[in-house]
């Protein structure tokens, strides 16, 4: 097995050498990552780097992100949808030559669910896997009773609590299900300690297309090709350099100076310039997220659904997107994202300003008279302020009401949103972790931790659970249509627009396709001069 890896190593190096000067992609990656341990981190910049170092059981197709074989070459799902059997590829190795076995996955999940380790994304395991929640809470101490089994070194069996039609998408798109090299981690400290040095260059061991070469904090992170990766011959880049470019204008200057091949974002003020002068390097891709205003349905006047609907209908989304956000966004008239894994909501907010005025009058505020003091809360940010001011003006013009604007610093605003709920209307956004319509619908369940509208509907909850038991996606999507209809009718949130990713990609980059999660699997990317 070792000689086979050596052969692959030689083949990969030979291929790389034959290709000419080293292909190193320089990526603007927003912020310095918290860490490179898939079981500790929570952010998107971390995700981008981890995509290069680790691979999951299944991974993402580079065109439409559907799950394709990763470290597992195939899998079987039982007819009741509760048992997943993954078959790992033969001869998988970590980048130190150790074999990757099903036992490694078991040990990794045990670490992720260990209460004293306090992993933040553990819920992506314990929401679905039998016994995992009890283990995470310390109620169950025998890990062998949790729904993970490794009957042999190449087979992993996962037993779920209830059918989860989107489980493979989570495994493909999120690092929470990646295996970590627990034997290596154990050399640097206790497995339930977050502050060990196992992720430092020279210590860390990876399973994905690249390995960590260097990490200078707040300067750059360098990864180089991993010859032990099962598909090393298919990896085109020799290395990637990740730059923590937190400041948008600085990142754009770096791109212009030729120091970056791709950026994380682009200042909106520059979109018009690039459209005119450098359109091939400008990317405006649909992004699986929604920008909306959330209502606290226990506070007057937004406790009346007619008022909520009136507010939702009385704004001109097209004008807002054309003149204020200017990022090619699409207006949203429903909470669900049209085109998300083949689902498009048919129920939409309909009516326009006339209908809004009628509803407001019906609620007892004809022409806006007597409308009580109302405020919109947003987190301090130039773009949110501009959008709020535009909406404030539209409501004044179309409904005759005067709404105040309040902004709070990010974490203070989050505290208000999650804990105190001291708001009537607040700006919010939701970005999907995986491409499935469930992502936008599950949060409106009564008392869901991310609901925060204090709205609940028994029928909605019933439908949500029925959808998970649906026999196929067609049946499931039919149920989602009913749920979207309830959301449009009750209007606990006011959808405004669907996000886009606006960023720059150098003309030399190939193998980079627009995807809804803005994920671009690194093994397919290469540079051409």
């Amino acid at each position: 097995m070792k000689s086979r890896s050596a052969l692959l190593f030689l083949a990969a190096t030979a291929l790389a050498a034959a290709a000419g000067p080293p292909q190193v992609l320089r990526v603007g990656n927003y912020g310095e990552p918290q860490d490179l341990d898939p079981q500790v981190v929570t952010g998107v910049p971390e995700h981008r780097i981890l995509m290069s170092l680790f691979e999951g059981l299944v991974t993402e197709d580079p065109h439409d992100l559907h799950p394709i074989p990763g470290l597992a070459e195939s899998w079987d799902i039982s007819p009741d949808g509760l048992t997943y059997t993954f078959h790992l590829r033969a001869n998988l190795t970590w980048s130190n030559g150790d074999p990757i076995t099903a036992g490694d996955f078991l040990d990794s999940y045990k670490r992720m669910l260990t209460p004293s380790f306090a992993a933040e994304y553990a819920y992506l395991l314990y929401n679905f896997v039998q016994g995992a929640a009890e283990y995470y809470q310390g109620k169950l101490t025998d890990f062998s009773k949790v729904g993970f089994k490794a009957p042999d070194t190449r087979t992993l069996v996962v037993t779920l609590k209830s059918p989860t039609p989107y489980l493979l998408k989570i495994i493909a798109c999120h690092y929470a299900w990646d295996a970590v090299p627990t034997r290596v981690i154990a050399k640097f400290g206790s497995l339930d300690q977050k502050e060990t040095r196992w992720t430092r260059p020279g210590n860390i061991v990876s399973s994905g297309p690249f390995m960590l070469k260097a990490w200078t904090q707040n300067q750059k992170i360098v990864v180089e090709r991993n010859p032990y990766y099962w598909d090393a011959a298919g990896v085109k880049l020799d290395g990637i350099e990740f730059y923590p470019t937190e400041d948008q204008p600085t990142e754009e200057r770096m791109f212009r100076a030729g120091e970056l091949d791709t950026t994380y974002e682009l200042p909106r003020a520059k979109v018009a310039v690039y459209r005119e002068k450098d359109p091939t390097e400008l990317r405006i891709d649909p992004w699986l997220g929604i920008y909306y205003y959330r209502f606290n349905v226990t506070r007057p006047p937004v406790n009346d659904k007619r008022v909520r609907k009136a507010l939702a209908l009385a704004i001109d989304r097209d004008s807002l997107l054309r003149n204020v956000t200017r990022g090619g966004e699409q207006p949203a008239y429903a909470v669900s994202y049209p085109g998300d894994a083949g689902y498009a909501p048919t129920a939409q907010l309909q009516g326009g300003v006339a209908e809004a005025q009628r509803l407001l009058a019906e609620a007892g505020f004809p022409g806006g008279k007597g409308f009580p003091r109302t405020e919109v809360l947003y987190n301090t940010h130039e773009m949110h302020r501009q959008i709020a001011e535009a909406i404030q003006a539209m409501w004044r013009k179309n409904l005759g009401i005067e709404v105040g604007l309040v902004n709070q610093e990010w974490k203070v605003y989050l505290d208000t949103q999650h804990d105190t709920h001291d708001f009537q209307i607040e700006r919010a956004g939701w970005i999907a972790d995986y491409p499935d319509p469930n992502v936008f619908l599950e949060i409106w369940e009564t008392k869901n931790g991310n609901n925060d509208t204090l709205w609940g509907n028994a029928e909605y909850d019933r439908l949500l659970h029925a959808a998970l038991a649906a026999k196929d996606d067609t049946a499931r999507y039919a149920i989602y249509q009913k749920m979207d209809a309830i959301l449009v009718d009750e209007c606990p949130v006011m959808p405004i627009f669907y996000y886009t990713s606006v960023y720059l990609v150098s003309n030399r980059v190939r193998g980079w396709w627009p995807t809804l999660l803005d994920d671009h699997p690194w093994k397919y990317v290469y540079l051409e001069n």
């Binding site: 310095e32 918290q34 860490d35 341990d37 500790v40 929570t42 209460p115 004293s116 380790f117 306090a118 992993a119 933040e120 553990a122 819920y123 314990y126 929640a133 995470y136 809470q137 977050k194 502050e195 060990t196 040095r197 992720t199 200078t216 904090q217 707040n218 300067q219 730059y243 923590p244 470019t245 937190e246 400041d247 204008p249 600085t250 200057r253 770096m254 212009r256 100076a257 120091e259 610093e409 990010w410 974490k411 203070v412 989050l414 505290d415 208000t416 999650h418 804990d419 105190t420 956004g429 931790g449 991310n450 925060d452």
Partner: protein, 324 residues
């Protein structure tokens, strides 16, 4: 003088204690915590996180535990040689950061402080090298066109913010002329634009203060005596007027150095420099309790030390002042 310095150092201990206590409690009373995020933390995760970081202990106990961690417990100063690890050397444990769990606050400071110090000292150098000659020239050639030009340059430097000057310099010298990188802190050439940007503001202040100081001194009797005795203009400026003329600059330098070190946040963001200024500010936004305390303690220490140095230097320079 030694007694004075010793007394000032002793006085600074209660000051530090108050700063640490004040910061520790104030940061807990601010809404939001290290794990507050857009995707709400589930109650189970929250419980485990609080247990991990002992955030569910009573607040006075967390405070006492933190103070104990900060207290020096041993004395191996030689251990400082490899990476400035205060825990190894003196048993002072600043604990891991909340935001960067696999790095200790000690490590973050040890890695980033030298960068900020380098940036600060280079900027100060630029500020003095540009500001002093401008100010002295303006004072000596008072009310001539030279004075007006120098004073205008100084005024522009004070008025143009660093986040305007920085990008302009990058646009001109890095993107169009290609003489420098647009950002980064890799080689000596990357030091130029950031130091010039940060230094320019302080150069402007130093120029105006030097001008004012020199004008006042040049009108004094002893200067007239020196001139009457036949001293040349250069000798008058450098030998006789310098000490007095620089007094206002020296008093300004204390807070200025502190300002350069902490205010480098903007420069570090514009030029992508891995310095401590950004951590100082971002730690508050991130509610990174341990890093906030670590950086606050560090900067408080600097300011206390710098004020002491400035006071000592002032007494040395101005014979009219004495240590009390």
């Amino acid at each position: 003088m030694l007694r004075y310095i010793g007394r000032r150092l002793l006085e600074s201990i209660p000051v530090m204690f108050i700063i640490i206590t004040g910061t520790f409690f104030m940061q807990r009373f601010v809404p939001g915590g290290p794990f507050t995020a857009e995707k709400a933390v589930t109650p189970e995760v929250e419980r485990n996180l609080e247990a991990y970081y002992h955030l569910n202990d009573p607040l006075w106990k967390q405070y006492a535990d933190y103070l104990w961690d900060l207290t020096p417990k041993r004395f191996h100063p030689l251990a400082l040689a490899g990476g400035f690890d205060l825990k190894e050397a003196f048993g002072i444990d600043f604990r891991p950061s909340f935001k960067y769990p696999n790095r200790t606050v000690n490590e973050i400071i040890a890695e980033k402080l030298p960068v900020s110090l380098e940036l600060g000292m280079l900027s100060l150098g630029v500020a003095l090298a540009v500001g002093l000659p401008l100010g002295i020239l303006a004072a000596v050639k008072r009310n001539s066109w030279i004075d007006y030009v120098c004073s205008s340059v100084a005024m522009t430097g004070i008025c143009v913010p660093t986040f305007v000057l920085g990008p302009l310099l990058v646009l001109g010298f890095a993107i169009h002329l290609g003489w420098f990188n647009a950002s980064g802190w890799y080689g000596p050439i990357d030091r130029v634009l950031p130091s010039v940007t940060l230094g320019s503001v302080y150069a402007a202040y130093i120029a105006r203060l030097a001008r004012g100081g020199f004008l006042e001194v040049l009108g004094q009797d002893y200067i007239r005596t020196a001139r009457a005795k036949g001293a040349g203009e250069t000798r008058v400026i450098f030998r006789h007027a310098m000490r007095g003329g620089l007094l206002p600059v020296v008093s300004f330098l204390g807070p200025a150095v502190a300002g350069i070190l902490t205010g480098s946040f903007v420069i570090e963001t514009i030029f992508q420099i891995p310095g401590l200024g950004r951590e100082f500010v971002n730690s508050a936004f991130n509610r990174d309790y341990t890093l906030i305390l670590g950086t606050v303690i560090l900067y408080a220490g600097f300011i206390i030390a710098l004020n002491l140095v400035v006071d000592v230097v002032q007494v040395w320079m101005n014979p009219k002042l004495k240590f009390e």
